[in-house]
Each structure stands twice: as structure tokens, then as C-alpha cells.
Amino acid sequence: MSVLVIAEHEHGQLKPETAKVVNAAVAIGGDVEVLVAGHNVADVANSAALIAGVNKVRVADSAAFEHQLAENTADLIVELASSYSHILASASTTGKNTLPRVSALLDKSQVSEIVGVVDADTFKRPIYAGNAIATVKSNESQKVITVRASAFDAQVEQGACEVENLSLSMDNALSAFVSVEQTESERPELNAAPVVISGGRGMQNGENFALLNGIADKLGAAIGASRAAVDAGFVPNDMQVGQTGKIVAPDLYIAVGISGAIQHLAGMKDSKVIVAINKDPDAPIFQVADYGLVADLFDVLPELEAAL
């Protein structure tokens, strides 16, 4: 058995999800290799070589992989696939974009967003917005899998393993990168932060999200949002937590002015400790909260900032 893990990276940096996906790979067993596909990604490869359990890092460094277009990356992975029994990627927007394409090209059924490894063929995954956990056994000879990184611990570090440079480049004539609008933030990323504070429709507008800043600064928190807050244009789309946004599981999650719809809960209910601030005592968010504060957020947010 050998497992290929597709490295998750951005701006020439390896993302912390990769060490968590490697954890899932180690649980499956066998040799673990990491593929870094990108442009100017030497640092990414060197960081990946330090993840405990990785036997080899393979690097495809080419302008064709710069924007991680699914068409190009999928062809690359397919080219390398025959050596592996399992191909894993984070269930990030990059992994979700690319792996099903790989899976279909290999004529394999994919297992999406696993949260547990039972054995090399059998996995646990949430379905119906996390209201049920399915155990599925794949009878495919080769398994293509995306991994919910928040459900796995990060691997510790090791002495660097071998890094192999592949002289492979795949380009396609059908799709081209046009532009990117990155949300700039000094704060930790939602998926990686130990504390997340999220605002919902109750925040009323984008300016009021500033009320969360001081608290986030003091707690080293990332700031998230409900779909309603994103739809209303208060904050950008990449802040959405939920079934169809980002899945987080921090030590502390603070939901402010969020009602607690099934779809929002799906993205945060595995947090260690949940705090809810809502003026409606019947809001469903209180059913999952460890600590609930029934109050007007505009009164208590300044108090909370001062008390920390």
C-alpha cells in the first residue's frame, strides 16, 4: 500500500491542513508520499518534507500549475496515480475542485470529506449536513478520498525526508486563469485558529463586525460569519462557516447574533467549547452551546472586549 497526499499550499507556503491529511494517510497505513504541484514551491516542498510520516515529497514546479487549475493538476495526478493505492487531498475548495476530476479520469468512485479512518477500505463521513455519520467501505482497487482536515490532528515534525523533482508539466487549452481577489487579513485562518468568533445577521451591517475585532485581537481568534451575513454583503464569502462553507473545530467558538440553522451548525458543532450570544432565548444555537448568554450583542460585545 502507498498513499499519495496532495499538498495544500498558497502564496508559496504549505498550509497547516496538509499535516492533518497526512495524519489520515498514516492511519490508512503504508508509505506516504506528498505531491506538491505549483510554481516556485521549493519552500512548500521543504516544509512538507518535515511532516512526520512522510517518506518522500514529489514536486512538480511549473508555471502551468501556478493557479492550481483542476484541469492541469488532475492530469498530473492521473499521470502519477498508478503507484498509489490511495490518493488523498484536503476537502478545501482546491481539493474539492480537483479530486473528483481525478477520480472520474481513473474511473473510480470517490469518498468525500472523511472524518475517520476505520481501515484501509473503510471510512466515516458526515452526510445530511452532519446529522448522520455514514461508515462506507470502498471496493475500488484505488481509493480517491478528500479529508475533512479539522477532524484530524496535525502530524508532528520529523527530520526532512527525500524531495524528488519531477519534470512534468500539464497544460490545457480549455481553461485559463483570469484574476484573483484575495481577502487580506492579519488574522489567523479560520481553519487553523484555536478560537473563532463569528457574526450573523444580528450584526446588522458590515461596520458592526468591527465590534468583533477587539475581541478577536485579544483571543488570537479568526473571524467567521453565517451565510446570512455573507449574503447580505456584511463580509466576504470566504468567512462563511457551515455545511457549504468552511468547517471549523476550534477550542473555542463564539457565535454572535447567529440563530443556529442546521447548515451553520454543520460547520462548527465539533468545536470543543461553544459560546452563543443571542437575544432570543429560543434560538437553536443555545442547544449546542456550552455557555449561552441571552443578551443584546450591542451591549455585551464591548463589555466582553473590556473583560478579556
Binding site: K96, N97, N131, I133, N172, S175, V180, D290, A307, L308
Partner: protein, 250 residues
């Protein structure tokens, strides 16, 4: 330009799914069903392309048992021109669905296929990407904006770090994200009119796709329950509890 919109019948998004007592699956008996919300967005986008004069025909397709004709009628009421029901009682995986759709794409030759990015039951997020691979087309997933111009689809995608825009040569595959549009409701006259629009039925078995399962459902369980929490009376009490009881802040 012909636009194909595959749609799925799923549990209504307001309903919380329950697990069967024997842990064999989720219990869908007498549960309210509806069109998958991301598919509604796909139908809406196709109809807007038609209203703008960009699309000439909108075809809705659904794969499943007889009941999914209800959702096809909804798509027709919303403005699709005709519907195709690929009928099967088999439990399908995304790969099977993509293969059946690829056969239909071969027959119908749509220049654009718009699908929902995921269905809210299986939460797989696979079918559009697989269809793109099987039809050797480019893909614009998680779209929040689609502009068709000069043989290309310019697709703005919701990605983890913000928004990415790609340019796809048509024919192409697009999957929808939440903010692509706000779907309309069907009006009563249009619901009546939809009853007379064409709905063709094709037997899935006739399309020459191997639908044998490749993934077994071993069991389905309730997620771990969270322990009941407490209501605190003040910010001060909250902060004290977070420090001394939960020990998540210092």
C-alpha cells in the same frame, strides 16, 4: 446555446434528517422532499441566460425514481423548456450520475451544463467535476458569477481565500455556489403551463452505463451528542467560566 441543468430531488433543507433505528440508513419515509437548493440556483441561472437571449433552450434532467418528475415539473414551471427523466430505482454514486449525464451530453450537445456544487443529502460535491472529466470539458466550480461572451464562460469562483476568476472555452461545465443568484418562485399560471411542457423518460439501463455499486454503506449513526450547556447571566460570569471551568482562555 443549449443549456442542460441536472437537478436532484433531496430532503427539504429545513428538515433535520433522522437515522433509522437499525442504523441502516437515514429515514426518509414521509419526509418532505424538494429540489436541492444548489440545483434551484442552477435552474435560475439557466433561465436568466435564456431571458438575456444568451441561451436558446434550457433542458432540465433528473436521475432517479418516478418521484423526481415532481422536481422536473418545478424546473419546467420555473422556465425550463423541456425535461428528461432518466429513470432508475438504483442507489447511485456520483460517478454513476456523471456517467449517465455524460451520455446525455453526447446526445444533446449542450454548450453549457450548470449543476449544483453539492447536494445537501450526500454532501459529496463531485458530480460536476466528474462530468467535466468524462466529457473532456473545462470546469468552473462554486460559481458566484457567470458571464458568457465570445465562445467563453468567464466564471468567478468562491474559493477558500476569496474569489478566483477563470475563463473557460465553451462547451463547459459550471457548478453553482450560494451567491450566484436568488432563485425565483414559480407562479401559479406557470405551474399550470408546466404540465403541458414535454417530459421524456429514458430508462437508465438503456444508456449502457454499469451502475453496479462500488461503495458499500456499512452503517449510519447519529453524530455524537453535545452535553447540555448552561445559560450564564453576565459577561463576567461567562469570562470566569471560560477561564476556570472550560480553561479555553487565560
Amino acid at each position: 446555446m443549449k443549456v442542460l441543468v441536472p437537478i436532484k430531488r433531496v430532503i427539504d433543507y429545513n428538515v433535520k434528517a433522522r437515522v433509522k433505528p437499525d442504523n441502516s440508513d437515514v429515514d426518509l419515509t414521509n419526509v418532505k422532499m424538494a429540489m436541492n437548493p444548489f440545483c434551484e440556483i442552477a435552474v435560475e441561472e439557466a433561465i436568466r441566460l435564456k431571458e438575456a437571449g444568451t441561451a436558446s433552450e434550457v433542458i432540465a434532467v433528473s436521475i432517479g425514481d418516478k418521484a423526481c418528475q415532481e422536481q422536473l415539473r418545478t424546473a419546467l414551471a420555473l422556465g425550463a423548456d423541456r425535461a428528461i427523466h432518466i429513470e432508475t430505482d438504483a442507489k447511485l454514486e456520483s460517478l454513476h450520475v456523471a456517467k449517465l449525464l455524460a451520455k446525455l451530453v453526447e446526445q444533446e450537445q449542450p454548450e453549457l451544463v450548470i449543476l449544483g456544487k453539492q447536494s445537501i443529502d450526500s454532501d459529496n460535491n463531485q458530480t460536476g467535476q466528474m462530468l467535466a472529466a468524462l466529457t473532456k470539458r473545462s470546469q468552473g466550480t462554486f460559481a458566484s458569477k457567470v458571464v458568457i461572451e465570445a465562445g467563453k464562460a468567464q466564471v468567478t469562483r468562491e474559493v477558500d481565500g476569496g474569489l478566483q476568476t477563470v475563463s473557460l472555452t465553451l462547451p463547459a461545465i459550471v457548478t453553482t455556489d450560494l451567491r450566484l443568484n436568488e432563485p425565483r418562485y414559480a407562479s401559479l399560471p406557470n405551474i399550470m403551463k408546466a404540465k403541458r411542457k414535454p417530459l421524456d423518460v429514458i430508462a437508465a439501463d438503456s444508456l449502457g452505463v454499469d451502475l453496479a455499486p462500488r461503495i458499500e454503506l456499512v452503517k449510519v449513526e447519529e453524530p455524537a451528542k453535545r452535553e447540555a450547556g448552561v445559560i450564564v447571566e453576565s459577561v463576567e460570569e461567562l469570562v470566569t467560566k471560560l477561564k476556570t471551568e472550560a480553561k479555553v482562555i487565560s
